[in-house]
């Protein structure tokens, strides 16, 4: 039965490639990235073979603990990254619980993260090849450590899966998780600074961790090498007991999950309210705009990126405070303009097959493009202006404001125009409607990367005039260039915006059915 489950997992993986060869490209990219990381870590561990045992012990225990912690936290953030072996799908088969647990646990190792963790863990055996006992200890530690990783991940996913079955919780948590993710840089920098200020503290931390399930398996070899077999035995016990307890928790959670199917929470509102659909002009473009704006606030895939915008200045100010140089803050308005404008380049992909409604109603391509772009513009324009003015207020230097505004608005309009063209022609891999914004999207990762990078390059070329004017102002110090930019940027941007909407609309009219067929592949 365990072999069956493993074979099923492999078959699912293989069939995924059969559906689209681009998935293979995506896996290859992820694999290369992991290979680089794993290679570096393995080389480091091999080199540590000759290092001071106390130092090695600290490094291995801290690294191992971080790995276990990562396996526990990442599934929560990524809300069920890999549900190919979702236990709920086995409800109707009477599989003995023990075999199911073993099969699912081993199945969790198949895939890039599982393989990477296993390889690095096994490399510790080389590090400790300083005698028979340490090698045996390292081997046992690696097996126990990897097992802990997998089981912890399973416990966490199973526990949160039952919690996350309500749509409202999923929506809110997905957006809320965006906040720490964006602030990751400042958080890590802060923690890193704290640690480097107290390096003496690290061995103590490692020693403490080695008595917890997080670090215990990784400490076995070091203790044996130091001849402390008593503590080593105790740590082995800690590790085994932890795995047993975790497995037991997992079994309980799984048993409960199997008999309580997900319940979709219902939020009901009385009365008739049309919201934005009742406010905006009753023409097709207005309807599309109202629908898009509603989605910006209601669909976590959109509102997740909306939450990021106010956090951007926070990140940049923090960075500036660390280096004492606030120059990067000058990019705030242009970058925000770019991010918001570019976010609609995947609009039709986000619609998925709901786009069939646009096709069935025969709404004109221009109305479709214009509605989506205007919805984005409705909040992007104030945000960009506020950011640009805010930067000048922050630095107290108002001479740069016209140029800054010209560049940002130019990028915003040009980006919206270009995105209107791109999303009318190309589909990219995005999370499906109703999925978490963090979920690995199905489909062609390779094409997604090609479209995104290609589009950004084109955008870069299109905004060269505005950028050149800003540079001219910086070099000559002549404020006139700024004022020219303030007029030329939005004017040029608007021309490209109109052209983009027109061209995108034309393409959409001509190729609507093909576009629907493309998005229908990912469902």
């Amino acid at each position: 039965m365990v072999a069956h489950l493993l074979r099923l997992k492999l078959t699912l993986l293989r069939n995924g490639f059969r559906r689209s060869p681009w998935q293979l490209v995506g896996l290859a990219i992820a694999g290369l990235y992991a290979l680089g990381l794993v290679g570096t870590l393995v080389v480091a561990l091999v080199l540590l073979r000759t290092a001071d045992p106390a130092l090695v012990q600290t490094a291995v225990v801290l690294g191992g603990s971080a790995a276990v912690l990562g396996w526990a936290v990442v599934p929560v953030v990524a809300s069920a990254t890999d549900m190919t072996l979702d236990p709920a799908r086995f409800t109707s088969f009477a599989i003995p619980m023990k075999q199911m647990l073993a099969g699912l646990a081993l199945g969790g190792l198949i895939g890039v993260p599982g393989l990477a963790t296993t390889l690095v863990a096994l490399a510790t055996v080389v590090t400790w090849s300083r005698g028979v006992l340490p090698v045996l200890g390292a081997l046992a530690g690696a097996v126990l450590g990897v097992l802990t990783c997998v089981v912890v991940a399973k416990v966490v996913t199973t526990a949160t899966a039952s919690l996350a079955s309500s749509r409202r919780f999923r929506d809110i948590s997905a957006v809320a998780f965006m906040v720490p993710l964006v602030l990751l840089g400042p958080i890590i920098a802060g923690v890193g600074q704290g640690i480097s200020n107290s390096t003496a503290f690290l061995p103590d931390l490692a020693r403490a961790l080695s008595w917890t399930p997080l670090g215990a398996p990784w400490a076995l070899a070091g203790d044996l090498h130091a001849g402390e077999s008593g503590p080593a035995a105790l740590k082995l016990l800690v590790s085994c007991a932890a795995i047993a307890v975790l497995a037991w928790c997992w079994k309980l959670l799984l048993e409960r999950a199997l008999v309580t199917p997900p319940y979709a929470g219902t939020g009901k509102r009385k009365g008739s309210r049309l919201g934005l659909l009742g406010l905006l002009p009753a023409v097709p473009a207005g309807a599309v705009m109202a629908r898009s704006l509603t989605y910006w606030f209601r669909d976590p895939r959109y509102s997740g990126s909306l939450v990021v915008i106010p956090l951007l200045p926070v990140v940049l100010v923090f960075q500036g405070a660390q280096t004492g140089d606030y120059f990067s803050l000058a990019f705030l308005a242009p970058i925000s303009a770019f991010i918001i404008a570019w976010s609609i380049s995947a609009d039709v992909s986000y619609d998925n097959t709901a786009f069939a409604l646009h096709l069935a109603t025969g709404v004109s391509g221009v109305a479709d493009r214009l509605g989506r772009a205007l919805a984005c513009l409705a909040f992007a324009l104030p945000v960009v202006v506020v950011f640009a003015v805010g930067y000048s207020g922050f630095t107290g230097d108002w001479t740069g404001l016209p140029g800054q505004l010209g560049l940002s608005l130019g990028i915003l309009f040009t980006g919206l125009g270009l995105a209107s063209v791109v999303s009318a022609r190309y589909t990219v891999a995005v999370p499906l409607p109703g999925d978490s914004p963090f979920k690995k999207p199905p489909g062609n990762v390779g094409q997604t990367l090609a479209v995104q990078f290609g589009g950004m390059l084109v955008l870069l070329v299109l905004v060269l005039p505005e950028a050149a004017l800003v540079i001219a102002q910086l070099v000559t110090g002549n404020g006139l260039f700024g004022w020219i930019n303030l007029v030329a940027g939005p004017a040029l941007g608007l021309v490209l915006f109109v052209a983009g909407v027109r061209l995108g609309g034309k393409w959409l009219d001509a190729r609507g059915p093909e576009l629907l067929a493309q998005v229908a592949v990912n469902r």
């Binding site: 939020g267 009742g278 309807a287 989605y295 709901a354 409604l357």
Partner: protein
């Protein structure tokens, strides 16, 4: 429909289907799973470009003049998502406004449609929180909002409760009585036999029989005739072990 054909890679999904649907008829398309019903209807309604052939609606070529043809058609496609972060009321309104209809007309029709579909109480609920049957009904409402002359409904009664199904059927019956044309696909033979006046049998991407119900069933029940046409009904022997529990 004239010689509609579509190939997906190696697989020929629809292999040259030609079919005349008389105006004012209640036309059923039946066929086993994977027969090409949905693909055919997608091609006939302008949602999927056919490799060969074309479809005409009241003399208008769907693929030459898509906008004019789509004005005449109301479509309930099967297996597509809806803009489900809108409330039921918003979704129907959205469909109406996309068709360029006047706001007041849309508002009054939305109210009546919600009542007819028995969804008035859930008008303010997001469609994503609807049950499967309610979702089907709201999708049907979006297809009706602009008073089309031809309704193309793919599996309209799947997961719909009997009371609502009866309501929808009486709506469709009076729609046909006043001159509208309805095409429904289904694999519930009984339903098609009771509801439709014409029927076409499709299997393996080909048209096996078409005509009025009485012509096609030729004295037998539609279900027996269907099984006979499509074939593939395995003998009821075998599977003896199923009785050895």
């Amino acid at each position: 429909m004239r010689g509609l054909a579509k190939r997906f890679g190696e697989k020929i999904a629809v292999d040259g289907i030609s079919l005349d649907v008389p105006p004012g008829s209640f036309f059923g398309i039946v066929g086993p799973n994977g027969a090409g019903k949905t693909t055919t209807l997608f091609m006939a309604t302008g949602l999927l470009r056919p490799d060969f052939g074309t479809a005409l609606v009241h003399g208008i070529d769907v693929w030459a003049e898509p906008l004019a043809a789509k004005k005449l058609m109301g479509i309930l496609p099967d297996g597509v998502k809806l803009f489900d972060r809108l409330t039921g009321e918003q979704l129907i309104t959205y469909a109406g406004l996309l068709r360029g209809m006047d706001r007041d007309v849309v508002a009054s029709r939305v109210g009546e449609l919600l009542d007819a579909m028995d969804l008035a109480r859930d008008a303010g609920t997001l469609v994503v929180d609807y049950s499967a049957g309610m979702t089907k009904k709201i999708a049907l409402a979006t297809a009706l909002i602009h008073a089309p002359r031809l309704l193309v409904l793919d599996e309209p009664f799947e997961a719909v409760d009997p009371v609502s199904a009866a309501n929808i059927r009486s709506i469709l019956d009076s729609y046909v009585a006043s001159g509208g044309t309805v095409i429904v696909s289904s694999h519930v033979m009984d339903l098609v036999q009771r509801m439709c006046d014409h029927v076409a049998v499709v299997a393996g991407g080909r048209l096996l029989a078409a005509g009025t119900i009485d012509e096609v069933r030729a004295g037998a029940s539609l279900e027996d005739r269907f099984v006979q046409l499509v074939g593939g009904r395995s003998r009821t022997e075998g599977l003896e072990w199923l009785r050895t529990f």
